[in-house]
């Protein structure tokens, strides 16, 4: 009973007070929603680095980080959660250190693995929301497919050069998934990742911060089944910073994953029947 009367510690009230008094956050109730929520961030790179500290700062109770890559000097202009002393360290571990120091009330789990059809399900199942901060079409299809099969909502974003894109996939298992937007994968030759294309740190960083805001809105139920409309927001950093929100198609009945006769089932993904390497072409991708 005492516990219900004061649902948070004094330290938490102090820590989150400035955020709780913003009406849109829903006060104590909203703060408890954040504390009880579990968010999985796939990729601790250019998007994950700016999203993660804001998620931890806001008090999202459980954060998972999937990344099997290690910190490299060439990452540091944009992956600013890491640093020069951490070159060679796993990005997920580097990020976890920072988050633990930022907010000890948040539990952080790391998964230093390369995400695939076999290992994704048990990990995703533990979380409420997935942030797709990866950098290849392969992982974008995989994350969306697994999320649809586990009924999870995904905040998905990407960036290159001075531009970025952001969308919400499989919203409450009613919104469109990645395959609704992109039923046919792009040919590998047409895809450039940031490794080849280059990227301005704060431009991809801004999109990562946007992802943190979107998942907070999902948790605080700013988006409802009534109010949510499928969208894709496009960011340009140069010459003038701008955001444009495109109204997008809804869930497609013909979608191979979320449609009426899905072939991209859990079994097909876990068994390797859906071959993401083949599906997206033979070029090697880095998660």
């Amino acid at each position: 009973k005492e516990f219900n009367k004061y649902p948070m510690s004094l330290e938490e009230y102090k820590r989150y007070g400035r955020q709780m008094i913003v009406e849109d956050t829903g006060g104590v109730e909203g703060q408890l929603k954040l504390r009880n929520s579990k968010v999985l961030v796939v990729g601790a790179g250019g998007l994950g680095c700016p999203a993660l500290p804001y998620l931890a700062g806001a008090g999202i109770g459980h954060i998972g980080i999937v990344d099997n890559d290690v910190v490299d000097t060439s990452n540091l202009h944009r992956q600013v959660l890491h640093n020069s002393n951490k070159v060679g360290m796993l990005k997920c571990e580097s990020a976890k250190q920072v988050l633990n120091e930022l907010n000890p009330h948040v539990s952080v789990e790391t998964y230093p693995i390369r995400l695939d059809g076999a290992n994704a399900f048990p990990i995703f199942a533990k979380y409420d929301y997935i942030l797709d901060c990866t950098d290849t079409p392969l992982t974008r299809y995989l994350i969306s497919d697994v999320a649809v099969n586990l009924q999870k909502t995904v905040v998905s974003a990407s960036g290159l050069g001075t531009e970025g894109q952001l969308t919400i996939l499989n919203f409450k298992n009613k919104g469109p998934c990645y395959r609704c937007f992109y039923p046919v994968p792009p040919s590998p030759t047409s895809v450039s990742s940031c490794q080849e294309g280059g990227v301005i740190g704060p431009c991809i960083g801004l999109v990562g911060v946007m992802m943190a805001i979107e998942v907070m809105k999902l948790i605080m139920e700013v988006y409802t089944e009534e109010s949510f409309k499928p969208f894709l927001t496009s960011y340009s950093g140069f010459p003038t910073q701008s955001l444009r929100t495109f109204k997008m198609r809804g869930r497609q009945k013909t979608c191979a994953c979320c449609g009426e006769n899905p072939t991209i089932t859990r079994n097909a993904i876990e068994s390797g029947e859906v071959d993401y390497t083949l599906f997206c072409g033979s070029r090697k991708y880095n998660v």
């Binding site: 950098d135 990407s158 894109q165 994968p185």
Partner: protein, 99 residues
Amino acid sequence: MVTVKVEFLGGLDVIFDKQRIHMVNVDSSETPTVKDLIDYIVKNMIRNPNDVDVFIENGTIRPGILTLINDTDWELEGGEEYELEDGDVISFTSTLHGG
């Protein structure tokens, strides 16, 4: 003749002299559609023939490129058959994958 604003976003501008925004006049015996616009772009606006594959695959917009009509997904507006009106903004944006 219909005059529309055409935008190439997400890096697609590289095959259009690095210009993102173009004003395009589409002529057609009947009311021109987005399909007519795409044909016009391929014929008249892509200078280097090698670049056509970046824009078109199997006769339509390449997978991975989103087409927007006045900031709305063309799937909601009738796709290729959408009839152009003066002042329409047709945007093509390459999907980004970097993170």
